[in-house]
Subunit: 369 residues, 2 copies
């Protein structure tokens, strides 16, 4: 059977950069926050090699923003996450697990503190806007919550600093990791953070206003010809090697942050008021009974992981693999899985059932980066 | 450029019927509630003709359920919608607009009243679960809210009664529109409603439990061979002819129910307490300034409507088309648009800008069904 196509509709939203993405010859998409997210340009492997050597421009407009504005914006933001935000200053980005009252993960976004009374939450794939609006309404908080016309454009790869300096000025090289600052583009103020969904280094440009999308896209390509800049996208191999989790793939609302290895972002022991605190205090005390682990799968390149693959030890189910890909650089199948504590030690040998095909696998001590 | 592919991942959830859908040769998907929804089997036109003559089985598992359970389930349900639910009895399905505090549409689901303290909300494409959970938590209501393992399977087309009677018994012919009852399948109780996203008649089977999916799918195909039963899906032509709206295409949270022609489902004048009542009282009094209209587009078959197409009258923007397709039966391009009141009368001639191609269009008195 040939691979299925994606049917276009307004509901699968185009982005301010779609014109550029199409001109660059995008071959496949996924859908993320009801928006098109490119997944392949040349091939997943060719894109991977290029990302590790050069610089790519990624349409990640699907990382929609939830904007909080008003006198209680900071209070609401703290209610939403178990991470202690008291030391956070304007200009910082924090990775913040968001949980419901039972401690189940609803999203794992990046909070961007623009000022005391204005925040963006740069979201993973769930309508976090509806949760935040529901909480703000239910608690009658003095805060406006909406989705602004802001679309992130990522610049990733070892030459990202060189490319960005040409377009936004040399000072951008001084920007520290998970910090942002405001830069000029053709008379417009543009928020740019040193961040992104790869381990190759780079930036995320928060493009405010659809009309600014293609001018910035074009400026990056015009400035980067000799750097071999290309259109790219979050890479399905590189992000697994690096242990970058994907909400909806590697975790869902069934999982606590502690199961996802995000316990260090949960400061429930300190005196912060947040949703899910009671449930997470219990989890923090007892520890999770299963947790995310890097897993190597033996043998030939695995097929696409389009559903959870059960993990077994001696016939007993002990977990599942949720992302997997063949790694050309590490010459093994790299994978992310959730494994029960009885079998999560590095070196534990397991079996994985890949849609009916049995294969040997091994829990790793760390990700491959 | 060839049409782009869809990249599989666990995040784009498979359904209990995916095995059957693949065996039937699905050619394209969309993504709906982070789940795969088939869009084409033979071709959109061939599927359309078959749907109008025979009977189809549709994997609409993506119509996820939000379940409300507990003593305050009914009170919460009424808070969520401006439609008066006081006369609704167990066994009924109600189409219920769901709005935020400003009257903006968050979803347009079907509420299924299983009993006084147990409801399903069968949702369109947005994470309504997060809104309902946020409201229930914020208002500290005594109700459990979650997404159960329930996947609708639709049986649609003029021979739907014949096929369903063979599998679930003759009594199913007596089921009235938007009513449901419980039927036996191989010892399992199954909720079945007379409903569905076509105007050809039919049913929706609320399959409880993933394991029951393929047995019911297979039973329908085994029983319907001489009825020419086929795998199908919501049809992009038929649903526009019939004026069935699509959340995310024809309306978003920018729109009120009144703009969507759903004012008759808003009983804000009566003494119900619901979110958005104040905003909708204002809208009901003044009337909307724009509204959904059927629109015919002149000329050759239009391309796929993958973004809003602006509507113009004498150079002035007066609305937009959000869904469009060539109708073989009506021999015109059928479309759904939002038109300002100055230009919404039937017979008004407009121009539509289809991604740079200008075309004449006309507001219609009614949909084509």
């Amino acid at each position: 059977m040939s691979a299925p196509l994606i049917s276009p509709s307004r509901r699968l939203r185009r982005t301010p950069f779609s014109e550029g993405v199409e001109a660059a010859g995008v071959k496949a998409y996924t859908v993320y926050n009801r928006m098109l997210l490119p997944t392949v340009f040349e091939s997943v492997e060719a894109d991977y090699h290029h990302l590790k050597r050069h610089v790519q421009v990624w349409d990640v407009a699907c990382e929609r923003q939830v904007e909080l504005r008003g006198p209680e914006a900071g209070r609401l933001m703290q209610m939403l996450t178990p991470r202690d935000l008291r030391g956070m200053t304007a200009g910082q980005c924090f990775y913040v697990p968001i949980v419901d009252e039972t401690g189940g993960m609803l999203n794992d976004p990046v909070a961007v503190k623009l000022s005391e009374d204005r925040w963006w939450i740069s979201i993973a794939d769930s309508d976090l806007l509806l949760w935040v609006k529901g909480i703000a309404y239910g608690w009658r908080m003095d805060v406006l919550v909406d989705e602004p016309d802001v679309s992130p454009l990522a610049v990733q790869g070892p030459k990202a600093d060189d490319l960005m300096a040409r377009v936004f000025g040399e000072s951008i090289r001084d920007l520290r990791f998970f910090r942002f600052s405001v830069y000029d583009f053709d008379g417009h103020d543009v928020v740019i953070a040193r961040s992104g969904y790869s381990k190759q280094g780079g930036f995320e440009i928060y493009v405010e206003g659809t009309d600014l999308g293609m001018p910035i896209w074009n400026a990056l390509f015009a400035a980067g010809e000799d750097l071999q800049v290309r259109a790219g996208c979050p890479n399905g191999i590189e992000r697994i090697e690096a242990g970058l989790l994907s909400y909806g793939n590697d975790m869902t609302d069934d999982n606590t942050p502690h199961e996802c290895g995000l316990g260090r972002f949960c400061n429930t022991q300190t005196a912060i008021g947040c949703i899910g605190r009671d449930a997470l205090l219990r989890v923090a005390k007892e520890g999770p009974v299963q947790q995310i682990r890097p897993i190597a799968i033996d043998g030939d390149p695995v097929p696409r992981c389009d559903r959870a693959w059960p993990l077994f030890a001696g016939g007993e189910r002990v977990g599942q693999v949720t992302s997997a890909a063949w790694s050309p650089d590490f010459e093994t199948n790299v994978a992310i899985g959730m494994v029960r504590m009885t079998h999560w030690d590095a070196g534990t040998r397991l079996r994985v059932d890949m849609n009916g095909t049995d294969r040997a696998a091994e829990v790793q001590a760390g990700f491959w980066l």
